[in-house]
Amino acid sequence: MACLAAAVLAPVAVDAEELLVFAASSLTNALQGIGAVYERSFGHTLVLNFGASNDLARQIQAGAPADVFFSADVAQMDALERAGLVSGAERLNVLSNTLVAVLPIASTSRLVAAADLVQVRRLALADPQAVPAGIYARQYLVSLGLWDALSDRVVPMLNVRAALAAVESENVDAGIVYRTDVALSKRVRVAFSVPPEAGPRIVYPLAPIAASRKQGKHHFVRYLVSAAAAEIFEQHGFALERSLLR
């Protein structure tokens, strides 16, 4: 697979560069894996900065020297495009994800559907006012008419991984995170999944930052949509948003 990728990408090899990549926290493990392969194959150095997409977007707007931005929702990328920080032509929608409700692994709570969430005393979400994972969760609950009852019990966390950690620590009763986050945790179990057709449309857009002068940024972006990367994303549970081989 790596050879195929190399074959596709070799004609545009550049001098070794250091690329600063801002990415949603839900992409942590997948990107670390992909990044390791990338560095070995092409000799560039990747500095991966994970966090809540809104937080990262804000930092880029404030002048942070990111080269590539991989967001968990479209709103943040739109904000950057409006600010002229990314070019509309260079944006790509790469991945999708699924929401799941999780419980601490030892929990005896009987939670099988969203309506059961009213039993929960404290529900961890990534900040539903700003962080993509939280916004998606809220949209889902609003669509079910459950948000008003539940909003009082929400513990807003800094990002989706923090929400996961809160559930692991048992300091909250349940949480809503991405399916891809749960795969890595041994301390939570899935109570129920949100079927893609029932939930909000989850899209992860990717773009190089216009202000960055690094040539490698385009190379890395193209690598992320290559078959090699796609395989790793799928292994981690992400759904692919588009046909990648081009």
Partner: protein
């Protein structure tokens, strides 16, 4: 200009700061007195331990408290069994604030107590005062300014506490969101204008607190040890 929700944040912050200061006073004064008088071994270690929250990053204190009080910890589990929830509630705000403010109170009060001539206390004892009466009739009247200064410092610190609070109490609007946490949150969601307003309010509160303390300590203080 300022929304009702924001006013509630101000009220909550003040409530927590005042309560925290009041709650640490007895233990803080006692600790300060003990440090001022005790001359045995282990005094240095005790002093350092009590001063730790002053120099540790608040997040370090926060994580330590979380480890202690989280539901998986022995203490946290025991409290949960009793129906007492601390993490992610206003009690966590209070607790984090108390821990971070405590050393400031102790430091100021201790210096004040050290400046009271211990012989005066001995004299009071010979004149019929037990140890507690001697404290309230001699030591405290002579040291109250330092104790007050310590309390004000503790209050100001409580107003601004963030790191330990956000870890232990979370940033839950309407429940645990103090001014400091709200400023952070407004910035996170891109509403810098509100963040600035809240920052201004915080500065105003701190100013009033410090000015009041200044006014108290500036008043007649002619008497030194006669």
């Amino acid at each position: 200009m300022i929304s009702p929700a924001e006013l509630r944040i101000v009220a909550f912050t003040l409530e927590m700061a005042v309560l925290a200061t009041v709650l640490i006073l007895p233990a803080g004064v006692a600790a300060a007195l003990a440090l001022a008088r005790y001359r045995g071994r282990g005094k240095g270690a005790l002093e350092t331990l009590l001063s730790l929250p002053l120099v540790l990053p608040p997040t370090a204190v926060g994580i330590a408290l979380l480890e202690l009080l989280g539901r998986r910890a022995p203490l946290g589990a025991w409290l949960a069994a009793l129906g007492v929830e601390i993490v992610f509630t206003w009690k966590a705000v209070l607790l984090a604030t108390m821990v971070m403010s405590f050393p400031l109170l102790v430091r100021s009060a201790r210096t004040a107590f050290e400046e009271v001539d211990p012989r005066l206390v001995g004299l009071a004892r010979t004149l019929g005062c037990g140890p507690i009466a001697a404290f309230f009739r001699v030591t405290l009247p002579l040291a109250w300014r330092g104790v007050l200064a310590g309390a004000v410092l503790a209050f100001a610190r409580a107003l601004g506490e963030f790191g330990a609070t956000v870890m232990l109490a979370g940033n839950i609007p309407g429940k645990t969101q103090t001014l400091a946490l709200a400023i952070f949150h407004e910035n996170q969601v891109g509403r810098d204008d509100r963040a600035l307003l809240l920052a201004g309010l915080t500065a105003g509160l701190a100013f009033v607190a410090l000015w009041t303390a200044e006014w108290f300590t500036r008043r007649r203080t002619v008497r030194t040890v006669a």
